[in-house]
């Protein structure tokens, strides 16, 4: 379903992703793991048509995201790592906009939006503006929105960041559900190794823009001679802490927060 060959992306002299190759089969749940700044999000951006690769090939369902942007976009859904909601709109309106943009028929749209908002316990607040939501609620809404249409491939970029264990559990149950019932291929990143161990069929570990290893969680544990995926991960990527320099977007957010007095 996803084929990546020798993928590379450089920003100036900095090489964010280099020579990454992997395959994700149809109906598979693939976890892409790596420390901060390892190139996970950059890879997802290239897979989802938001960034142009500097080199290498990508095929999603047999299509190149660069040349068949719209066909590719029709095939995937994505939950981003950082917020992508419109704070001035209500929760319901955010769902509506998404449904319309993804061509979900009117009736299905309303029905599914209701179902999902109830599932993620946002139904009572559906007519409130999103800027009044707490961090966890926003996150839940993004996830609910990601499930509104049924894509062939679902990208989840650190979806559980800032979620309580209840919502996390709800999310993974749901992900497994659509994976089994509708054969949705799932490509996810997370910092919680236990989640990856529990949910993913296969795991790829990336560090400094290079793919270190890939295989089933069991294979990786055997290969490193460790008990848990977390230990395996630390063994493969070392225990030094990575600092990501704040991107211009982060700086801008900070500035905007100051500017609008924390209005959003």
């Amino acid at each position: 379903m996803i084929q990546v060959r020798n993928l590379a992306k450089t920003f100036g002299s900095f090489s964010a992703v280099s020579d990454v190759s992997f395959d994700v089969a149809e109906g598979e749940i693939f976890a892409f793991l790596g420390p901060n700044g390892a190139g996970k999000t950059t890879t997802i951006k290239m897979l989802t048509t938001l960034l142009k690769p500097s080199g290498g090939q990508i095929q999603l369902d047999g299509l190149d995201p660069q040349t068949h942007q719209n066909q590719v976009r029709q095939r995937f859904g994505i939950v981003f790592q950082d917020p992508s909601l419109d704070g001035d709109l209500t929760a319901w309106e955010n769902m509506e906009v998404h449904g319309v943009l993804y061509h979900v028929p009117h009736k299905t749209r309303r029905h599914r939006a209701e179902e999902l908002l109830k599932l993620f316990e946002l139904w009572d607040r559906r007519n409130d503006q999103v800027k009044k939501f707490s961090g966890g609620m926003k996150r839940r809404l993004e996830i609910a929105r990601g499930f509104l249409h049924t894509p062939k491939i679902l990208f989840l970029d650190e979806p559980t960041l800032g979620l309580d264990p209840q919502s996390r559990n709800q999310l993974w149950t749901h992900v497994k559900g659509v994976n089994e019932s509708e054969r949705v291929t799932v490509f996810l990143t997370t910092h919680y190794m236990d989640e990856a161990d529990r949910v993913a069929h296969r795991v790829g570990i990336i560090d400094h823009g290079k793919l270190v290893t890939q295989g089933t969680p069991k294979e990786i544990k055997e290969q490193t001679g460790t008990q848990t995926l977390e230990d395996a991960f630390l063994k493969l990527t070392g225990s030094t802490i990575r600092d990501e320099s704040a991107s211009s977007t982060d700086q801008m957010r900070q500035f905007a927060k100051m500017w609008s007095g924390g209005r959003r």
């Binding site: 719209n70 976009r73 995937f76 909601l85 061509h103 801008m252 500035f255």
Partner: protein, 252 residues
Amino acid sequence: MNAIYILWLRELKRYTRSRAQIVASLGQPMLYLLVLGFGLNPVFKRAGYGSYFQFIAPGVIGMSVLFSSIFSGLGLLWDRQFGFLKETLVAPVPRIQIMIGRTLGGSTVAVIQGLLVLTICLVSGFRPASYSTIPLAIGFMVLIALLFAALGVVFGSSLQDMQGMQLIMNFIVLPIYFLSGAMFPLTDQGKILGFVTALDPLSYGVDGMRSVLLSSTFFRPAFGPALDLAVLVVVGTILLIFGAYRFSKIEI
């Protein structure tokens, strides 16, 4: 088509929900209109140009449409930082539709803003030569709004962060306003100023509004409504195409 509609609707909802901002955005035009309009009135009259208040009213309307529409395009920056832009960019909708939806939404908001200022003008004593020409003036507002919303998209697609906003404000938006003849007659100007003002698209918008609204006894058009219309349509179309092109190239 639905995508265009929903994004248009979104711009409108955002506008109607920020009431404080609506009131705030009327402050500046009111200062120009009431303070400058009445303050310079006697001097202007003595110079034989008629009432300055009548003269400046269409200019102030043009100013509010300019500000509102160009900032709607620059709203891309906000959407970029709050992430909503990504949500629209990965959607299976051709980017041209997304750009059109946003631009139409921003232009609609700008025209509403212009109508609010027109109402303030009428309430505080502005009298068009004939009320039947108001629809024509609204037509010019629409053209100004579309043109500058497109220009806003051109800048909004190219800028990465807020620092650029100040540059755009001081070196693009304010010069466009001050050089448009919104505040002074464009006829009888020196060669250099005459040349520069003729390069400013807003000059044609304001001139067009004045040509249809003001009585010809006092106002002499600098270009004439036909030329105004032609320039606005041609430049507007070029900017819309260029804006759509820039928008299609956005990477995040």
